[in-house]
Subunit: 315 residues, 2 copies
């Protein structure tokens, strides 16, 4: 069993590589749900959806999320109502891009949750509908909300930060509301305990992997498997391939480099895979107490993803 | 001011006639919300939407509800998830036909209700977005649920009955859950008190007009305006033009004829408009204590609707 702690786009690409090089039924993804948002009454799980769509082969590769060939009929119709709402309302909001096919996922998930089904079950049902053979687990069935304290604004939700403000604000701190009372989803700890390999995906360490590790029990379970845990740095040459990982790390007092990533993951992972662009920093990474593997980590397509998966698995 | 108690399709056609023959800003519709349903987490108000779309000129005339030229991308995508859900789940349900453009209305309404806006305000915002000059009021801002006791099944919700079972079941009784604690939406009683004319639309007396009158205060307010109240019979030649009005009336012990309608509305309306097909029953209607006006009541298009509106207004 290969267990991957996963955020969205970067993780989904590595997961596609993993299921290409090993039996998909031996792959488990433990996915961040701190980004989940209820919008227009619908429960949206962006990272679960990105991972599911990617593994189903229907993801929009250019965007990295959503369904390929998506249409936006509902969203365009919603724009009519935008100005009708008072200033303070987000009812006509269309910044949160809900595609028509993507909406079907949210409608299904919302109905099932309202019926009392736990998120893990709903996630499994969606995976089955897409004929996936690997296993996708939310980090928890409880509600954990990634909240960011933004300079000059106070605390806001993740999607307000990430989509609404295009992460172009100064973050003072991050917390995962509800995490202290959350329990790992059924199967998460068992998967980690029995894993041949634990992988920390090249996702944002602060807001993608951070929430997963904030669920009590997961951090300890990964630490207990440190020798078999491999992390892939999401930072390449001091920058994130996409998203605010580098900026967030710097703002929260971490070095935004593979060395900074090494310091974060040293208690959890014995190995860190860094990109060839960072080969010169390998000794500094190893000084943090991890074995450093240098390899191409930028996954432009399935071949690179499969190659990186082989590196991660040491094959 | 012309105030119309309204259900869905039949009422929406008469309302289009009314706004064609009088200043639209003098027309108020008080609309049934007992059919409202939360499906996939979205608050759907079928009758409010039918009335709004019809008055906006975007209704699908053939169906009588929904938006003309509608697409069904979301619903088709949802069908993928149907079989994934357990038997007992309705998460993949697609019998409730949610069109793409229609969904935008439900997304907007749901978000606003979640923000704490009352349904009457949301309804006004939607009407404004469609540039309507007439006023559309829900019968109440409270939750009232039309529930039907169905032979061999027990109690089910309105949409389960109407859409799910295509009203092809035996109804033993109908109740409006929550009505006893509901209050009329702001403006409803004032509109009725100040109306030049109160109109009971040719909607299903039991499940469309019934819920409106079940909201405490509305029935009395209409009765107080009996002399100025005109009802239009939804029963023509013993049958309903669409839907289960005739069957429901018979099953609940009413005569499914204009005479049965006259008995129902006699305490509330001084005048009943019946179709020319029922001209022979005019004396029997008048025996129930209402003035009977015979006129064409079948509204195939705007001309017939306007003509019927003139009859209703006595012009």
């Amino acid at each position: 069993m290969i267990v991957t702690l996963a955020g969205g786009v970067g993780a989904s690409r590595l997961l596609r590589g993993l299921v290409a090089v090993v039996d998909p039924s031996s792959v488990t993804a433990v996915v961040n749900t701190g980004d989940d948002i209820v919008v227009h009454g619908l429960h949206v799980s962006p990272d679960l959806d990105t991972v599911t769509y990617a593994l189903a082969g229907v993801v929009d590769h250019r965007r990295g999320w959503g369904v390929a060939g998506e249409s936006w009929t509902v969203l365009e119709a919603l724009e009519r109502f935008g100005p009708a709402a008072p200033e303070s309302s987000s009812a006509g909001l269309t910044w949160f891009r809900l595609g028509d096919r993507d909406l079907a996922t949210h409608l299904y998930r919302t109905q099932r949750l309202r019926e009392g089904a736990p998120l893990s079950l709903v996630t499994a049902e969606l995976a089955r509908a897409w004929d996936l053979r690997c296993r996708i687990l939310p980090m928890t069935d409880n509600r954990v909300l990634t909240r960011l304290d933004v300079e000059g604004e106070g605390e806001i939700g993740f999607q307000d930060y990430f989509v609404g403000r295009r992460h172009d604000v100064v973050v003072l701190s991050v917390r995962f509301a509800g995490a202290e009372d959350a329990v790992p989803a059924p199967g998460v700890l068992e998967a980690l305990m029995g894993a041949e390999r634990v992988v920390i995906a090249p996702s944002n360490p602060v807001v993608s992997i951070g929430p997963v590790l904030a669920v009590p029990g997961i951090d300890d379970a990964v630490a207990a498997r440190r020798e078999d845990t491999v992390a892939v740095s999401p930072i390449v040459a001091g920058a994130a391939l996409r998203g605010p990982a580098a900026r967030l790390m710097a703002e929260l007092g971490h070095e935004s480099s593979v060395v900074g990533v090494a310091r974060l993951w040293a208690p959890l992972a014995a190995t860190l895979v860094v990109d060839e662009a960072d080969a010169a920093l390998a000794p500094a990474v190893e000084e943090e107490g991890l074995r450093c593997v240098v390899a191409p980590t930028i996954m432009r397509g399935p071949d690179e993803a499969a190659a990186l998966a082989r590196v991660v698995l040491g094959r």
